[in-house]
C-alpha cells in the first residue's frame, strides 16, 4: 500500500459505508417524521412547547443539565416492577421531533426527566428544588442554582412569586427569594415534559 491513490480509495470506501449507514439513511428514515395527530381530541403529539418553555429549554442547555439527567425511557425503565416510574412506555424517535438539539443525555446521576412534568407538576416544588435541592432531598448532589434567583428585601407585602422554602433554607428575616425570568422559563420547560401519550409504534401498556 505505497500509493496515495490506493489509500485514499480505501479510506473513502470504509468511511462512506458507515456515513451512509449511520448518518444518511437515518436522516431519511428519521429526519422528516411527522407528528401523530389525534383528530377526535384535537391534539398532536408530541406536544408543542410554549414560547416560555422553549426559552426554558435554552436555560437547560446553557447550564448543562444533560450531564446528570437523561431524557430517554428505555424499555426496562418503563417496566412497572423494575422501572422507577419514569414513564409508562419507552420513548421513540417521534417523541423528539421538536427537540433542537436533542437532550437525550448519557448520565443518570439524577433521575430521568422525560416525564417530569407529569411526575412533578408543581412549580413551587421546582423552584424550591432548583434554589436548594437539599431542602427537598437531603442526600441530593445536585448543585444549588442560586444564580437563577434574586434575594431581595421584602417590600410592603411579600411578592406572590417568592419561592416557598423550607426552614433552614430560607433567606434572612425580611428577605425573599424571587425567581429570575430564566428560572421561570426553566420551570415552565420542566413542567412541559410529558411523553405519556401513546403512539402506534409505542403503545401504552394495558392497566
Amino acid at each position: 500500500m505505497n500509493s496515495l491513490r490506493t489509500l485514499f480509495i480505501g479510506f473513502t470506501i470504509t468511511f462512506t459505508l458507515a456515513w451512509l449507514g449511520l448518518v444518511i439513511i437515518p436522516y431519511f428514515q428519521l429526519g422528516q417524521l411527522a407528528p401523530q395527530v389525534d383528530e377526535d381530541a384535537g391534539m398532536s403529539y408530541p406536544l408543542i412547547r410554549s414560547g416560555l418553555a422553549e426559552r426554558g429549554k435554552q436555560v437547560y442547555q446553557a447550564n448543562g443539565c444533560i450531564y446528570c439527567h437523561s431524557q430517554q425511557v428505555r424499555p426496562m425503565d418503563a417496566d412497572p416492577i423494575k422501572g422507577r416510574g419514569w414513564g409508562p412506555r419507552r420513548t421513540v424517535a417521534r417523541d423528539y421531533i421538536y427537540d433542537k438539539p436533542h437532550l437525550l443525555g448519557t448520565m443518570r446521576t439524577g433521575p430521568d426527566l422525560t416525564n417530569i412534568g407529569k411526575r412533578q407538576p408543581s412549580a413551587d416544588w421546582h423552584h424550591a428544588h432548583l434554589y436548594a435541592p437539599q431542602s427537598m432531598a437531603e442526600y441530593s448532589v445536585m448543585p444549588p442554582y442560586r444564580y437563577l434567583y434574586t434575594v431581595q428585601k421584602i417590600k410592603s407585602t411579600p411578592n406572590p412569586k417568592a419561592v416557598k422554602l423550607a426552614k433552614g433554607y430560607q433567606p434572612e428575616e425580611g428577605y425573599e427569594v424571587i425567581p429570575t425570568p430564566d428560572a421561570i422559563a426553566l420551570v415552565a420547560y420542566l413542567q412541559s415534559m410529558d411523553r405519556t401519550y401513546a403512539l402506534p409504534e409505542a403503545p401504552l401498556p394495558k392497566e
Partner: protein, 514 residues
C-alpha cells in the same frame, strides 16, 4: 560500518537527514506540544473541580460572600450571578471535556503527527509558517470556546459544546494542517510507506469529514431532533475511533520498534489490523444509544460492529506484543517506551471492555452510570494520553537538542499517571456497576435513589483522589517541559533514562534485519 555505545550504526548521512527534518519541524511541533500541555493542566484542574462537585455539591458554587459584596458595589447588576453561573457543574464538566479533547489531545495529536509524518516521509516540513499559524488559531479558538461554555453559550451537544463560531475556527485551523499533511505525503521520499503513515493519513482525511458533517447537521443547519442523536454519537465515537486511535496507534507503531531497534513483527498483521479498524470502527456510534429512541436495525448494526472490533484490536495487540517480545527489559530504561507500551496495552484493555459493553444485557446495567466514564478515561487517558506522553518524551529532546533535566520528575509523572488512571478506572467501574444494579432493581426496598447516592459517594471521592494524583503527575510533566524548553536540560551525556544503561546490556548486538 562502526557502531556507537548503543549498538546503532553511526551513518551520519542518515542522521543528518533526520537532523534536517527535525530542524524544519522545530517551531510548529514544539509550539503544539507546549500549548497542548498548557491545556492539559487547565483541563485537569477543571476535571478535578467537576469531580469534587459530584460528592460535595456545595464546593465552589459561588464567589466568597465578602468578595461578592465588594464586586457588587461597582459592577453592573448581575455580574456576580454571571460569575457564579460559570462555576456550576453543568458548565465546568463540558469545559473539562472540550479542553482535554481539543486543547490537549487533538493539539498533541497534531504535533506528534506532524513530526511522525515528516520523519517517515523523510522530507523537511513544508510551509512551517502555515502550520504555526494554524496552531495559533487553534489555541485562540480553544480559549474562546472555553469562556463561551462557562458563560452559558454551550451548544449542549456532547463533544461539540463549542459554539459555532469556534467550530469554524477549529475547522479552518485544521484544514490548513491537513492540506499540509497531504502535501507532505505527496512529496515524500519514494519507497516503502510505513504503517504509521497510513494511520496518520487516514486520521487527517477522516477528521474534517467527521467534524464538518456533525457541525453542519447538528449546529449550523440542525436536522430534526429525532435523527440528531445518531449523528451526535457517530461523531462522538469516531472522534475517538477514527481520529485519536489512529494517531495513537501510529505513534505506538513508530516508537515501539524505533526504541527497541527491531522491526514490527508482521506487515500482514499491520495491514489487516488497519483495514479492519477502518471498516468496523466507524459503525460503532449507535452503541451509545442502546435502549434509546432509535430503530432496532441501527442499534444492532452498531452492536455487531462493536463486537467485530475484537478483530483489529487482537491483531494489533499480537503485532505489538510479538515486536516487544524479548525486549521487555528495555522498559527499565526508556521513558518513551514505558509510556507507549502502557498506552498500547491499555488500548487492548479499553477496546475489549468497550466490545463487552456493547452487549445489550451488560449495557442495560452500565448505561448511564459511572462505568461509562471509567471506560472513556481508560481509552482517552490510559491509551491515548499515555502514548502522547511517551511521544513527547522522545520528540522534544530531538527538537531542542537537549535532554530532559530531571529523571525524578519523569518518575513522578509516570507513576502518578499510572496509579492515578488505574485507581480512577477501578473505582468508577466498581462504583458504576453498583450504581447500575441498584438503579435497575427498585423493587428491592433498599435501592432507593438516596441509597444509590450514599453508596456511590466513596467511589466518587476516590475518583477525586485519583484526579489529584493525575494533577501532580501533570505538574511534574509541565515543569520538566518548561525547564527543557527554557534551555535547562543537559546537552551531552546521553538520554535521560529511568535506570543507568550498562554498556554491556545495550551493546549486545541484536542484529536487525535491515
Amino acid at each position: 560500518m562502526s557502531k556507537n555505545l548503543y549498538g546503532t550504526p553511526t551513518d551520519s548521512t542518515d542522521a543528518q537527514e533526520r537532523a534536517l527534518v527535525d530542524a524544519s519541524c522545530r517551531i510548529p511541533v514544539l509550539l503544539f506540544i507546549a500549548s497542548s500541555v498548557f491545556w492539559l493542566l487547565v483541563g485537569t484542574v477543571f476535571g478535578l473541580i467537576a469531580s469534587i462537585k459530584l460528592h460535595n455539591p456545595h464546593f465552589l458554587i459561588e464567589l466568597p460572600r465578602w468578595f461578592a459584596l465588594y464586586l457588587d458595589k461597582f459592577s453592573p447588576d448581575g455580574t456576580v450571578d454571571f460569575i457564579n453561573a460559570m462555576l456550576t457543574f453543568g458548565r465546568v464538566r463540558p469545559a473539562h471535556l472540550n479542553i482535554v479533547a481539543y486543547g490537549w489531545a487533538s493539539a498533541s495529536a497534531l504535533g506528534v503527527a506532524i513530526w511522525l509524518m515528516a520523519r517517515l516521509c523523510r522530507a523537511p516540513l513544508r510551509f512551517p509558517a502555515l502550520v504555526t499559524a494554524a496552531m495559533v488559531l487553534w489555541n485562540i479558538a480553544i480559549a474562546i470556546g472555553t469562556i463561551a461554555i462557562l458563560g452559558g453559550k454551550s451548544t449542549s451537544i456532547e463533544w461539540l459544546e463549542f459554539p459555532s463560531y469556534v467550530s469554524i475556527m477549529l475547522f479552518v485551523s485544521y484544514a490548513l494542517i491537513s492540506i499540509w499533511g497531504v502535501n507532505m505525503f505527496v512529496h515524500r521520499k519514494p519507497g516503502h510507506v510505513y504503517v504509521s503513515q497510513w494511520y496518520i493519513m487516514a486520521a487527517l482525511f477522516w477528521f474534517p469529514w467527521l467534524y464538518g458533517t456533525a457541525n453542519l447537521l447538528l449546529i449550523f443547519a440542525p436536522i430534526q431532533g429525532s435523527s440528531q442523536a445518531i449523528v451526535n454519537w457517530w461523531y462522538g465515537h469516531n472522534a475517538l475511533g477514527l481520529w485519536f486511535t489512529p494517531i495513537g496507534l501510529a505513534a505506538a507503531y513508530y516508537f515501539i520498534p524505533k526504541v527497541i531497534g527491531r522491526p514490527v513483527h508482521s506487515y500482514y498483521l499491520s495491514a489487516f489490523g488497519f483495514w479492519a479498524l477502518a471498516l468496523f470502527y466507524s459503525w460503532n456510534g449507535g452503541h451509545h444509544l442502546i435502549g434509546g429512541p432509535l430503530p432496532a436495525w441501527l442499534i444492532t448494526s452498531s452492536i455487531v460492529a462493536s463486537l467485530m472490533m475484537f478483530v483489529p484490536v487482537l491483531v494489533t495487540a499480537i503485532n505489538h506484543h510479538m515486536t516487544m517480545k524479548g525486549n521487555f527489559h528495555m522498559l527499565h530504561y526508556s521513558p518513551t517506551l514505558r509510556f507507549v507500551v502502557f498506552g498500547a496495552m491499555s488500548y487492548t484493555l479499553a477496546s475489549l471492555q468497550g466490545s463487552s459493553m456493547a452487549f445489550r444485557s451488560w449495557n442495560s446495567l452500565t448505561h448511564f452510570t459511572h462505568y461509562t466514564i471509567g471506560h472513556s478515561h481508560l481509552g482517552l487517558y490510559a491509551f491515548f494520553t499515555m502514548i502522547m506522553f511517551g511521544s513527547i518524551y522522545y520528540i522534544v529532546p530531538r527538537l531542542t537538542r537537549r535532554e530532559w533535566p530531571s529523571i525524578t520528575l519523569i518518575k513522578i509523572h509516570f507513576w502518578g499517571s499510572a496509579y492515578g488512571i488505574i485507581l480512577m478506572v477501578l473505582v468508577l467501574s466498581v462504583g458504576g456497576v453498583v450504581q447500575g444494579w441498584m438503579m435497575n432493581n427498585p423493587q428491592i426496598p433498599q435501592n432507593t435513589f438516596e441509597n444509590i447516592l450514599k453508596i456511590t459517594n466513596p467511589y466518587l471521592f476516590a475518583r477525586s483522589l485519583s484526579g489529584a494524583l493525575l494533577m501532580v503527575a501533570h505538574i511534574a510533566f509541565a515543569l520538566n517541559l518548561t525547564l527543557i524548553l527554557l534551555g535547562w536540560g543537559k546537552k551531552t551525556g546521553g538520554p535521560t533514562l529511568f535506570n543507568q544503561l550498562e554498556a554491556s546490556e545495550e551493546a549486545k548486538p541484536k542484529e536487525s534485519t535491515l
